[in-house]
């Protein structure tokens, strides 16, 4: 694989996949420890109709309308969950399940019925994303990385995802101590003056930003896997939060890079013609890493494993 082939075809999707994986894994660590892991899942389901509606109104796929649409959908979801819970007299978990799947289904139907053929927005992309299509046409080789003209032709998803990663990482770094303390002991955190409510909300908003930014590039499947798998696998490797977050980043990068390569070239190696979905393979790889960590991780057998949940 030489630069002339790798840089225009594979570099951008691979980097985008890595940025997505890390941007999701970072807040995912705290969501998993707070037993809110499925919030990532919920967000990626709920935002679909919001993104579609935003597209139908503006006619373009761009970040701000998508984020606004996603935020609107999230508000609708919260109100709807509360309504179902009260009117239907069922518990919150069941109400969430109903609303998340219903909104996702609504988004799929809306996508099918609307004319989105001019852009990368259809049912298949909503699920699997369009990582493979992020081709850098202006690149001719590694030297293009220093060529301003060529860089201007870079697919917009890459810088968008890089910016998202910077924002998410900065949030985690700046609020590391409050996040750690309030995740471990919320009551204590409040008595030393931490505003744990707004902090928890900010964490969920960061997860939502990562999910929405990632959605366009990789679809909803990989987003779910990336919130949970790398942090869960990392927890089995260490007993220290600092190290856990570092491991989760390593696992996220490995899953994204390896997943992309295997999806693109793996079938060729075993004599098949077509490549398989990169997003699907990245999610598969992160699942395999979690499985390996569960089998061989040094801290997989912890004394107090029983009372979890």
């Amino acid at each position: 694989m030489n630069g002339a082939e790798f840089v225009p075809l594979s570099l951008v999707p691979m980097l985008t996949g890595i940025f997505v994986a890390v941007a999701c894994a970072l807040p995912g660590n705290f969501l998993v420890l707070r037993r809110q892991a499925l919030i990532g899942d919920a967000i990626s389901h709920v935002v679909l109709p919001g993104i579609v509606v935003a597209f139908l109104i503006t006619g373009v796929v761009s970040t701000w309308p998508m984020l606004l649409g996603a935020a609107g959908a999230a508000v609708v979801a919260v109100v709807a969950i509360e309504a179902v819970r009260r009117l239907g007299r069922i518990e919150a978990g069941a109400a969430m399940g109903v609303i998340f799947t219903a909104m996702f289904a609504g988004g799929v139907l809306l996508l099918e019925q609307s004319d989105t053929s001019s852009v990368h927005l259809d049912v298949e992309h909503a699920l699997y994303g369009n990582l493979e299509s992020l081709i850098w046409l202006d690149a001719t080789g590694w030297s293009s990385l220093w060529d301003w003209q060529a860089l201007k032709g870079l697919p917009v998803e890459l810088p968008r995802m890089a910016l998202t990663l910077v924002v998410v990482a900065a949030f985690i770094a700046l609020f590391w101590r409050p996040l750690k303390i309030s995740t471990f002991d919320e009551g204590f955190a409040q008595t030393i003056g931490m505003r744990t409510g707004p902090l928890g909300l900010a964490l969920v908003i960061m997860a939502a930003i990562a999910a929405v930014a990632a959605f366009d590039a990789v679809g909803s499947i990989i987003v779910i896997a990336m919130f949970i798998c790398p942090p869960a696998a990392a927890r089995l490797m260490t007993n220290q939060l600092e190290h856990q977050v570092a491991w989760s980043v390593v696992f996220a990068v490995i899953a994204a890079a390896l997943g992309y390569v295997i999806a693109g070239y793996g079938p060729l190696w075993i004599g098949l013609q077509d490549s398989v979905s990169a997003a699907g393979m990245i999610a598969t790889m992160s699942g395999i890493i979690l499985g390996l960590a569960a089998l061989f991780g040094p801290h997989r057998l912890r004394g107090s494993a029983a009372p979890i949940g």
């Binding site: 700046l174 471990f184 002991d185 204590f188 008595t191 003056g193 007993n239 912890r302 107090s304």
Partner: protein, 266 residues
């Protein structure tokens, strides 16, 4: 005229007590759903003493403490700490929650939990210096846990976990220590170690308030007692207040005559 003067004087002295008190609660009411868990409770903690909050299960002991600190939002009531609202006095308060209220599988070490007590001094990004580490290790030594600094917290016994929580409170250098069931599910050695630390805090002029459930040790451990069963039953010194009349009021029929006798109460 004289009557007016007396009431005003009584009111004034009550107000003075409240201004000086490390923890003064007025009209605190908390409700989970329809039924009030704590109803219109007043409490005035005496400075430099150890006070036990006692009452039967579900009497609102922990709830009262959490609501006073703002962890639970009360329906009504005010709390002052040394005469000022709680929010302005955070640095003077160290709170030790129930051990079972946190997940001990959380990926962190003993020393890191104690360092959490130094957060108000460190802030968001302040560097943890050698002095901070020494301080945390010193607090661990005071509860006899100096050899466990780098252990993962999930590997500790219940009593050891409780000591770590106490060490974190010590690191806060507070004036008022509030503990929720510090002796629940701990071994006898830990109970002794904890009470020794609490008494040393009191002897250094600090104020200690603990939710307590073991009536047989109240007289031995505490100076003052506060009895609650949703409403305030009584408060005052152990000698005057920890008496069968008030205990019957607080516990109702749940405390058998034999138990009363065992406590050797007047």
């Amino acid at each position: 005229m004289s009557l007016d003067l007396v009431t005003t004087d009584a009111f004034a002295s009550q107000e003075t007590a409240r201004q000086d008190s490390p923890l003064a609660i007025r009209g605190l009411t908390v409700s989970y759903g329809q039924k009030p868990a704590v109803f219109s409770v007043d409490m005035t903690v005496e400075a430099g003493k150890m006070t036990a909050i006692i009452g039967p299960n579900g009497a609102g002991k922990s709830t009262m403490l959490k609501a006073a600190l703002g962890i639970i939002k009360p329906l009504a009531g005010t709390t002052t700490v040394f005469g000022k609202p709680v929010a302005q006095q955070r640095q003077k308060i160290a709170y030790v929650p129930q051990r079972a209220s946190v997940d001990w599988d959380f990926p962190t070490r003993v020393i890191d939990v104690v360092l959490m007590g130094l957060y108000p001094k460190l802030g968001l990004l302040g560097r943890v210096r050698a002095a901070h580490r020494e301080k945390a290790e010193d607090c661990l030594a005071r509860v006899g846990m100096q050899d466990f600094a780098t252990r993962q917290i999930g590997q500790l016994s219940g009593g050891q976990q409780q000591r770590v929580f106490l060490a974190r409170a010590l690191a806060q250098d507070a004036e008022l220590y509030l503990l929720d069931e510090p002796f629940a599910g701990v071994d006898a050695a830990t109970e002794k170690a904890i009470i020794a630390v609490l008494k040393s805090l009191r002897d250094a002029g600090k104020t200690v308030v603990a939710v307590h459930h073991d009536l047989s040790t109240v007289a031995e451990y505490f100076d003052n007692v506060f009895l609650i069963n949703t409403r305030r039953i009584a408060e005052g010194s152990v000698v005057n207040t920890f008496v069968s009349r008030h205990l019957q009021d607080a516990y109702g029929g749940r405390l058998a005559g034999a138990q009363m006798d065992a406590l050797a109460l007047s």
